[in-house]
């Protein structure tokens, strides 16, 4: 018996940290979710976009916060320039619109799915390579545009079976306005941001002890952590009393307008307002949100308004978008249906013994046209070999062509019945 951990593992079985093989049922579910999401996005008028898998590091860097900067997977081009694997879809789409589609009528709507790469600490559904789907609505500054992105996010989560989800809405302007009013040093800003982001009593208290502020300013910070909950009107009213300038007030009226627009979609029950929701990527300028689903401690989707980004590539355009983390959506859905089982193979429903009969192959084609999974043997196996293979991979039926019909093997290695080639009803039944 082998009792030691090998000191030098076999490198042929290794794959790099943070990437995975998906296969069988799990791969199928990921693909299905991708397709289903894109289908919904398209019905709302969103058009497909496929950004490149890697770009110049500079393209991403200009809009990345420190975290994203540190997490980019970089490598060098032959001419010495630095490239990075796609670290963010939104930036790639913004580059496309800003540099090439700026004269096309606005608003423009785009949707996508694909892998995103970030060299990050591994956590639930966020490996170094993770699968995203997303939507971007470009050239529309109105609150109704924000509401459309939120409504479509809600629609997508419902379709994915994530009942009981919540959309947590914040507005970056409120915190940005607060920072403007406080006139802090960069270190103090970072401290306050982390304290608020973590809803941290010790850090907020420490900050208030260390930084000299007027009483109105103190109060705005002390009460900020309580500005969250379901009661949109009450929270916005409370936040109103704490405003220190126009920027904060503008943020609140914008949030109010978005909620009014969401009411028309019948979505107010899914909304949770949280003015401490400020931890997102760093490029958001207005609305920011995350979608939460029961059974998972991490958001399944995030998004917000980024009005400053496209201007960096060309003509300035307002924009708002959302990104879904597909593995988290799948995990949340599985968690809500009980303990996880290992993925099962998705075997063919019918296994047909090797044949050269064109009549037989025509029938097989008919089955496939009906969406039935049929594999025809290409190895000249004996019936008993096929039967054993079918048992092993979980295929229900083995069929052997007998010139004018099929012998059907179902529960035993002997034919259970014979179906004639002209018995249409019976033939179609085989796939069920």
């Amino acid at each position: 018996m082998k009792t030691t951990v090998p000191l030098a593992p076999q490198t042929s079985t290794l794959i790099p940290r943070g990437v995975a093989d998906y296969f069988w049922e799990e791969a199928l579910q990921r693909r299905r979710l991708e397709v289903a999401l894109l289908d919904i996005f398209r019905t709302w008028g969103y058009e497909d976009v496929i950004p490149p898998m890697f770009e110049y590091t500079n393209t991403f860097s200009r809009h990345a916060n420190n975290e994203l900067q540190a997490e980019m997977v970089r490598f060098q081009d032959r001419d010495g320039s630095t490239l990075a694997l796609r670290a963010d879809m939104t930036i790639a789409v913004a580059r496309l619109v800003g540099t090439r589609l700026h004269d096309w009528p606005m608003p423009q709507r785009f949707c996508y799915t694909g892998s995103v790469f970030r060299d990050t600490e591994l956590q639930a559904g966020r490996q170094r390579e993770f699968l995203q789907a997303g939507i971007e609505l470009i050239g529309a500054p109105s609150p109704t545009a924000d509401a459309e992105i939120l409504a479509l996010t809600a629609k997508a989560l419902q379709m994915a079976g994530l009942n009981g989800f919540k959309l947590v809405l914040g507005q970056m302007g409120y915190f940005h306005g607060l920072l403007q009013a406080l006139q802090l040093t960069p270190d103090q800003q970072r401290w306050l941001q982390q304290a608020i982001d973590r809803n941290s009593e010790p850090e907020v208290a420490g900050f208030l002890r260390a930084v000299a502020l007027e009483s109105q300013q103190r109060r705005a910070i002390e009460e900020l952590p309580s500005l969250n909950g379901h009661d949109v009107a009450a929270i916005l009213a409370h936040a109103e009393q704490l405003c220190l300038n126009q920027v904060m007030q503008a943020a609140l009226s914008n949030l109010r307008a978005i909620c009014t627009a969401l009411d028309s979609y019948g979505l107010l029950n899914f909304i949770y307002v949280d003015l401490t929701e400020i931890h997102n990527l760093g490029y958001y300028t207005g609305l920011t949100f995350e979608a939460l689903a029961p059974g998972l401690g991490f958001p399944v989707a995030t998004g917000g308004r980024y009005d400053q980004m496209i201007g960096a590539f060309g003509k300035p355009e307002a924009a708002v978008g959302a990104a879904f983390i597909l593995d988290r959506m799948l995990t949340a859905r599985r968690n809500s249906t009980g303990p996880q089982k290992p993925p099962q193979p998705v075997a063919p429903q019918l296994l047909v013994a090797a044949t050269t009969s064109s009549q037989c192959l025509a029938i097989v084609e008919e089955w496939r046209g009906q969406g039935i999974r049929v594999a025809v043997d290409v190895g000249n196996h004996t019936v008993s070999e096929l039967w054993q293979m079918a048992q092993k991979i979980g295929c229900q039926r083995v069929l052997v062509w007998r010139g004018a019909g099929f012998d059907v093997y179902e529960d035993a290695p002997t034919p259970a019945r014979y179906i004639a080639a002209d018995d249409q009803a019976q033939l179609l039944n085989l796939g069920s």
């Binding site: 809803n199 009593e201 939460l292």
Partner: protein
């Protein structure tokens, strides 16, 4: 409604947490832990788990537990991304840099590469990096005071409550790295998804803490 799951750190802090929760009128685990890993309250509204203290932030960040109690120093060492809305009035201690009493009194920044034994490698690394010192961190799991005595490390970073163990081993406190006490932590998603239940617990705890403060202030005045 789904019950709220609370993670408690095995040991004295768990008893102190339960005591506080009870005074706040929050329903208690129905029975003793012993061999059981999960205990539900009599009314079914809450479930409790006992975890190794350093694991509590992990349970809470992943949402396996909705809330938990742990030391602030354990939380900072873990680097876990959770809410920390409420300090609790127990588990007071400080995380300090400790040296043998015969260490010459020179600034740390004169050291080229001190060897530092600790259970808190992240915080220790951050402390030395901030001073531009490239410390060799020796991660240990227990009996940290032993390290300088047998020449494994020049310095140690550890928790000090009374300082008795430290003094008994011929060690002295050089710098306080952080002051710590127990903190209630909450999963970011649960904080919103189970907002009603969590706010109830927070409000009840805050009420008890305020009464406490008033009592202790009165005592001081007397």
């Amino acid at each position: 409604m789904e019950p709220l799951l609370i993670a408690l750190p095995k040991g004295r802090m768990a008893d102190q947490s339960l005591d506080l929760l009870q005074r706040a009128g929050i329903s208690m685990p129905n029975g003793d832990f012993g061999r059981k890993l999960v205990i539900t309250s009599a009314d079914g509204a809450l479930r409790y788990i006992m975890a190794k203290p350093t694991d509590v932030p992990t349970f809470v960040e992943y949402g396996a537990a909705d809330m938990g109690v742990c030391g602030l120093e354990t939380l900072r060492e873990s680097g876990r991304n959770v809410y920390e809305p409420l300090l609790l009035p127990f588990g007071h201690c400080r995380l300090s840099l400790i040296s043998p009493t015969d260490r010459p009194d020179t600034p740390l920044r004169y050291e080229s590469q001190p060897r530092v034994g600790t259970k808190y490698p992240r915080l220790t690394m951050a402390f030395f990096r901030e001073r531009g010192v490239n410390a060799e961190i020796i991660a240990l799991n227990g009996s940290i005071e032993l390290a300088p005595l047998v020449g494994l490390a020049d310095l140690i970073v550890d928790i000090i409550e009374t300082g008795n163990t430290m003094r008994a081993n011929g060690l002295a406190e050089l710098r306080v790295i952080m002051h710590s006490q127990a903190v209630l932590i909450v999963n970011r998603a649960a904080y919103r998804l189970k907002a009603d239940l969590i706010q109830q617990v927070l409000t009840a705890l805050r009420a008890v803490l305020e009464t406490n403060e008033q009592t202790s202030t009165r005592n001081v005045n007397v």
